[in-house]
């Protein structure tokens, strides 16, 4: 034992507390599979809402997908939208409560397949909302079917031999698409598969919330995420696979930043 090591007795003392769960997360037990990026991203959002002190000013919109029960975990007001319709629901809230912070949280099936129209038009109108896009390349909730973002060659329960372009078309890079729309103000692609990436993702998501108060347009953050259950991998394997396969096709970084 190193000389300056702290004893367990001292460790639990209040003054030695260096990190705790944000009060903006409820005590409900999260239903996410171990290692799933949804849980990490939830925590980031809750922490940001706490740090910004906007609990009483924020209204979130949950999608249909694995994160359908997000409202159970967030200690602030939320609405649960129909599959893909979160940007329209958020538009309705924001237009009628323009002084509030409004955000959507959506998976790739929700945001980039069934809800493509709502996504593009909310971004194109420049709705003053924040959109968080969890891209795990698969339909997690329904048991691992192909998503619009599933990579070429990637196996899913509906592309059991790997996604073939001739049959299933190409993966859709939604973030690259919406970055070109004049209504978007801040667009970034991040991941939460390493501690360093978690910190970067938090910075980007925080900006996406802070910029909302400027009323300059849609702030959009894609989080390239994993789905250990749907990908049929351990959490560690899935993060490695994400880095090696997802990131070359969905490279990380800010795609559109406001001119200072």
């Amino acid at each position: 034992m190193a000389e300056n090591a702290i004893t367990t007795k001292e460790l639990v003392k209040k003054e030695n507390l260096v990190y705790q769960k944000t009060k903006l997360l409820t005590d409900d037990v999260m239903h996410y599979c171990p290692g799933c990026g949804h849980g990490t991203t939830h925590r980031l959002i809750a922490e940001i809402v706490e740090e910004m002190g906007i609990q009483s000013e924020i209204i979130g919109v949950a999608p249909v997908g694995c994160s359908v029960l997000m409202y159970n975990y967030m200690n602030f007001d939320m609405q649960e939208a129909a599959h893909g319709r979160a940007p329209a629901v958020a538009t309705g809230i924001k237009r009628l409560l323009p002084e509030k912070y409004v955000f959507t949280y959506q998976g790739d099936g929700d945001l980039a397949a069934i809800g493509t129209g709502e996504t593009i038009h909310a971004c194109n109108r420049g709705e003053n909302i924040t959109m968080i896009f969890i891209n795990n390349g698969i339909y997690g909730m329904t048991g691992g079917q192909m998503a619009p973002t599933t990579l070429i060659g990637m196996k899913s329960s509906t592309t059991p031999y790997g996604r073939e372009v001739s049959l299933a078309g190409n993966p859709l890079n939604m973030t690259d698409l919406i970055v070109n729309l004049p209504g978007t103000y801040f667009v970034s692609r991040q991941s939460v598969h390493t501690p360093g990436n978690v910190r970067k993702a938090k910075k980007a998501i925080k900006k996406a919330f802070e910029y909302q108060s400027l009323n300059k347009g849609t702030c959009f953050v894609e989080v390239v995420s994993n789905c250990p259950a749907g990908w049929k991998m351990t959490p560690v394997e899935s993060n490695k696979w994400l880095a090696e396969n997802m990131l070359p096709f969905y490279p990380l970084g800010d795609l559109k930043v406001p001119e200072e």
């Binding site: 409202y71 602030f76 007001d77 939320m78 329209a88 009628l96 709502e118």
Partner: protein, 355 residues
């Protein structure tokens, strides 16, 4: 005192919506109701109530904008016609399942499919028997004049908020397009208060609010279904509305709503000139349907003709109401063709009196 003005039914809905203190309108153009959106976008609302008006990218988006706005506790309205209303069914079901109030106007045109832009009454089933998925009910109001088009906007909102349920005004292209005199209620301010169930931001004095129609536990879902069922029963007991015209001495009855009920009033005169004593029963709420009140008429009349611009939809409810005590049949033109008063009298003679 407000004066009478001459206005199209669609415009009357728009003006009445402003006067009712509506917070938001979200809609997508479709004939025969685009005048509503056009009127609202021209109404310089920033100088009046500040009502929000947005042309959505689709009816799917429009109804979900209503969901968001209603969830925020606001008075929200959309208008459309058959094909657009079909696209809204998912959202209507979600709103019923989340107990959210809203007002939807269907200015019906002939279908199925793209059909015709001419008036019809062929969306009765869609409106009164579900339309979307799951066990829910849509309060359905059927105006028969431009005045009622206007009046039912505030009535619709009152019912929607009282019962936290979507309400539909089921009208048709004829009422939407025709001009008639109408007197509006004075301007009502937009409400500054939010209902206790609305997501307006979690303040320290209350628990967080979430609006959802999801119940993964079947026991929870059944409890919720039982609660909805009780609510619908209460509405059925308290909110039935109807009108009886020349029924006191009637031997026969027309049952008709909306445009058809107006034509039937002419048919009554034609028939009475020939010595046939016929009256009109006009359901104003199509759901809840006036089953009991129509049943009561079976002690007096020998038969009923359900007159609808459809292949026969409301007639099924009339038949349910009378429990086979008197003869019931249907007459109606379709595809955007409006029946003439003479055709209706002929049908009464052939199908009910002679039949």
């Amino acid at each position: 005192m407000e004066e009478y003005v001459l206005m199209k039914g669609n415009e009357a809905i728009a003006e009445a919506a402003i006067r009712a203190g509506t917070d938001g309108y979200f809609g997508y153009p479709i004939t025969p109701q685009s005048e509503v959106l056009e009127y609202l976008t021209a109404a310089r609302l920033h100088e009046r109530t500040g009502m929000v008006v947005l042309q959505a990218e689709s009816e799917v988006a429009a109804i979900n904008m209503l969901y968001g706005g209603a969830g925020a506790g606001k008075k929200v309205l959309t208008t459309s016609s058959g094909p657009g209303i079909s696209l809204m069914q998912e959202g209507i079901s979600y709103m019923a399942g989340s107990e959210l109030p809203c007002l939807i106007v269907n200015v019906v045109r002939g279908g199925p499919g793209l059909g015709t832009i001419q008036p019809a009454q062929s969306d009765y089933f869609q409106s009164t028997k579900g339309g979307g998925h799951g066990d829910y009910r849509l309060i359905t109001l059927a105006p028969a004049s431009v005045q009622e088009m206007a009046d039912f906007v505030s009535l619709g909102f009152d019912l929607a908020f009282k019962y936290r349920n979507p309400v539909m005004i089921l009208t048709d292209g004829a009422l939407g397009q025709m001009m008639e005199k109408v007197k509006f209620k004075p301007q009502q301010p937009r409400s500054k208060k939010s209902p206790h169930w609305a997501t307006t931001g979690k303040t320290p004095d209350r628990e967080r609010i979430f609006i959802t129609s999801l119940n993964l536990d079947p026991a929870c879902q059944e409890r919720f279904n039982i609660k909805l069922k009780a609510k619908y029963k209460e509405i059925s007991e308290k909110e039935v509305r109807y009108e009886k015209i020349e029924c006191d001495d009637a031997d026969y009855l027309f049952v008709a709503y909306g445009t058809s009920s107006r034509i039937c009033q002419k048919s009554i005169q034609l028939a009475r000139n020939e010595g046939i004593k016929v009256g009109l029963f006009r359901p104003i709420t199509l759901w809840p349907f006036p089953y009991k009140e129509i049943m009561e008429m079976t002690g007096q009349v020998k038969g009923m003709l359900s007159v609808e611009m459809s292949a026969g939809q409301m007639v099924e409810d009339v038949k349910l109401a009378v429990e086979a005590k008197v003869k019931v049949d249907h007459y109606g033109r379709m595809g955007g063709i409006v029946h003439s008063p003479e055709e209706i009298v002929k049908a009464l003679k052939q199908k009910i009196i002679g039949g």
